[in-house]
């Protein structure tokens, strides 16, 4: 893989021929980029294979772009970020979003469902930018994304697979089936069937290793919707298991609230139908 880059402000050797990696942060908790630093056994070998060219959380050194691979954490929530993501795209050969914020707007997309009257008064006060500040949007609403890695937080084995695939120029092996498949593989007894515990596993994408059911807890959907989620059916089951309408609304409205299938399902449980469609994604 050939790379072109100029040398940055800090003194640092660059090794031509090694692909360059940049890590960018938008509105987020830092947990997904921390996952890269949590690859304790793999970090030093990884740094031999790729040049970590821009990663402010880990190093002062900056190698100027363009970069072969950019990992982007966080969602777009400010006018400055709308401009910055364009820059990131322009200097990145492959742009990979990491985590629920970058991929679906994150927990901060709960503002997308905020009180209409309250938001309207804000919009009238500063219409030039508050229309965008009033929403948290995923990176894909603004620029072309080459791959979206799910999870709140991402799984480190999946992260390493996506990085390896990017360097090797192949498609990452990241399954899009449901958490249920992971439970079967782990040999977990189904928490819903055996204990009547409400669980979003059937509509949630795998990747965590079926963690919650392994801890006697129902899945709460932090990896977002799987490929073909039947949210209507699972919502009916959740009601049968005793969840109230507001509870069903809330379980779909957490870390992937603005992802299309979860947004639609949560809005079906709004007490006031007029309030539906408020959380629809509006690119900045």
């Amino acid at each position: 893989m050939t790379t072109t880059h100029s040398h940055g402000a800090e003194h640092r050797d660059t090794h031509h021929g090694r692909p360059t990696l940049a890590v960018w942060k938008f509105a987020s908790c830092d947990g997904c980029q921390l996952t890269l630093l949590n690859c304790e056994d793999e970090l030093i070998p990884l740094a031999r294979e790729v040049e970590i060219a821009y990663f402010p959380e880990a190093t002062r050194a900056v190698v100027e772009g363009p970069y072969d691979v950019s990992l982007v954490e966080g969602s777009v929530t400010t006018p400055e970020e709308i401009e910055r993501i364009q820059h990131v795209r322009a200097v990145s050969r492959r742009l990979i979003t990491i985590g629920a914020c970058a991929t679906a707007g994150g927990i901060q997309a709960l503002r997308n469902f905020g009180d209409v009257a309250e938001f309207r008064s804000i919009v009238y006060a500063h219409p030039e930018y508050l229309s965008t500040l009033s929403r948290s949007t995923p990176i894909s609403a603004h620029v072309t994304v080459d791959f979206e890695l799910r999870g709140c937080p991402i799984n480190k084995h999946q992260l390493l697979e996506v990085l390896a695939a990017s360097i090797q120029g192949r498609k990452p092996r990241v399954p899009t089936h449901s958490v249920c498949v992971e439970c079967k593989r782990r040999g977990n007894v189904c928490v819903t069937v055996a204990h009547g515990t409400p669980c979003l596993g059937p509509v949630t994408q795998a990747g965590c290793g079926a963690l919650c059911p392994s801890f006697d807890r129902g899945c709460y959907g932090c990896y977002g919707p799987q490929d073909t989620p039947n949210t209507v059916s699972i919502a009916t089951r959740l009601s049968e298991l005793g969840m109230s309408e507001p509870e069903v609304l809330r379980i779909f409205r957490t870390f992937n609230a603005a992802s299309e299938p979860f947004r639609r399902e949560s809005e079906r449980h709004e007490p006031d139908p007029q309030q539906a469609s408020r959380g629809e994604e509006v690119p900045g």
């Binding site: 908790c29 030093i44 990663f55 959380e57 880990a58 905020g114 807890r217």
Partner: protein, 436 residues
């Protein structure tokens, strides 16, 4: 970046602070050796947690507030659980408190090892970052990563994963880890504890600028042991109050240059400090013998007032966290219930715990159905912002003879002394953002 102003003053500016968690900048103006302006600018976008917690169920804050910070999610989970249990007038069992403490030890280990080896040590050893440092000091970096991994393994076992653990609930845990699962961690933790003692020696040998700051210290103090998952509040001037009273003593206020609220103690204009220095200085008598010996050998007195030496205190706290984790694991039997029932109840509740960076307060107001009507979160970095700025002011004036590059570097280092977590600090409630 550093440049001269036309009127003879100078500006020092770092647009993106590196090796800190979150997005911040530093801006200092000085003239004739006197600092005229100093700002730790926090431009991390606000995420409005306290706004959208309103209307959520009382069972949700451990999962939701964990997402404030990927580095210290357990701190948010613990402080929120204590606060909600306080509002519901429920006390958890001693076993649940101990399991919370064990999980929290994992977070201290992961966070402190990250900060010591990957974020802070490169300053003292003269590198841009740990990966660059690894070329010359492979054993140091490998040891740091191994020590960090022991903390993450502990969090994986107790919490399910180290970033945003899934096993914490209001009232306790979903499932208690078994004695067998816990004992499997023993050899890794023992090795890491020994390496932590070595680490105290290593960092005690670093070169520390002379600087003593007179700040008020604030930390929790527990009935027994070093304060981690719980306690009541004490200060270095002899103040002591219950966590329930923290809003009577700590006021938050908004300054124009920061998206994070600052905090004041008892109306004083002087900064107060939370975090390892405060915790150690107010609780060094509570350290386990092995951690106390390590501190003494490193030349730490009962109190530490040099912010640069916070790296030694973090290393001592690592020794304490491994030692405490081993103690809890060794005494663990499989007899405890994972949780106690917490029926909702209308009321106000307060909770606090010692996040790696210092005291983290939560307050919730619930209605009788357990729906959150009000939420307030006071994270450590908000409380430390004024002292970070005061340190920068002191340093620039004391070391004006240093060349610009050296001074700038030392200022960045001074910010890292606090291990600021900017993602945590930025959460303010006001939904109108005025950028004019």
């Amino acid at each position: 970046m550093s440049h001269k102003l036309t009127d003879g003053g100078q500006v020092m500016h770092v647009g993106t602070l590196s090796r800190v968690e979150g997005e911040g900048a530093m801006h200092i103006e000085y003239r004739d050796g006197v600092v005229t302006d100093v700002q730790l600018r926090i431009y991390e976008p606000p995420r409005f947690y306290e706004a959208f917690l309103r209307g959520r169920s009382f069972t949700e804050p451990p999962d939701i507030t964990a997402r404030i910070c990927g580095i210290c999610p357990v701190a948010y989970q613990m402080s929120s659980c204590w606060a909600i249990e306080d509002a519901c007038r429920i006390e958890v069992t001693e076993e649940i408190r101990l399991m919370r403490r064990l999980l929290y030890c994992g977070e201290w280990i992961e966070s402190h090892a990250l900060h010591i080896f990957l974020l802070h040590a490169p300053d003292f050893l003269g590198y841009d970052g740990a990966i660059e440092m690894a070329a010359d000091h492979p054993q140091v970096v490998e040891r740091g990563l191994r020590m960090k991994k022991a903390g993450n393994d502990l969090m994986d076992t107790v919490g399910g994963r180290s970033v945003h653990p899934v096993n914490v609930r209001v009232g306790g845990f979903y499932r208690m880890p078994t004695r067998l699962e816990l004992r499997a961690l023993r050899s890794r933790l023992e090795r890491a504890r020994d390496e932590a003692i070595e680490t105290v020696r290593l960092v005690a040998g670093f070169d520390f600028p002379d600087m003593e700051q007179p700040y008020e210290y604030l930390s929790l103090r527990a009935e027994q042991g070093y304060p981690i998952e719980s306690g009541s509040v004490v200060t270095s001037s002899g103040g002591a109050f219950a966590v329930r009273d923290f809003t009577k003593h700590i006021q938050e206020f908004h300054v124009a240059h920061s998206n994070a609220l600052h905090a004041r103690l008892d109306g004083s204009p002087d900064p107060y400090v939370v975090g390892p220095l405060a915790r150690y200085s107010l609780n060094s008598d509570r350290l386990s013998p092995v951690a106390r010996d390590a501190a003494r050998e490193a030349g730490l007195g009962p109190m530490c007032r040099n912010p640069f030496r916070s790296i030694i205190v973090r290393a001592v706290e690592l020794v304490e966290a491994y030692t405490e984790a081993l103690r809890i694991i060794d005494a663990w039997t499989d007899s405890a219930s994972p949780s106690v029932p917490v029926p909702p109840r209308a009321g106000e509740g307060f909770g606090a715990s010692e996040a790696p960076r210092g005291t983290l307060f939560h307050r919730y107001v619930l209605d009788d159905a357990g729906i959150i009507r009000d939420a307030q979160i006071v994270p450590p970095t908000s409380q430390n912002q004024p002292s970070v700025e005061a340190d920068l002011r002191t340093m620039v004036e004391a070391w004006s003879d240093l060349d610009d590059h050296a001074l700038l570097h030392r200022c960045e280092q001074a910010i890292r002394n606090y291990d600021p977590c900017i993602s945590c600090a930025t959460h303010f409630l006001d939904l109108t953002v005025d950028r004019t």
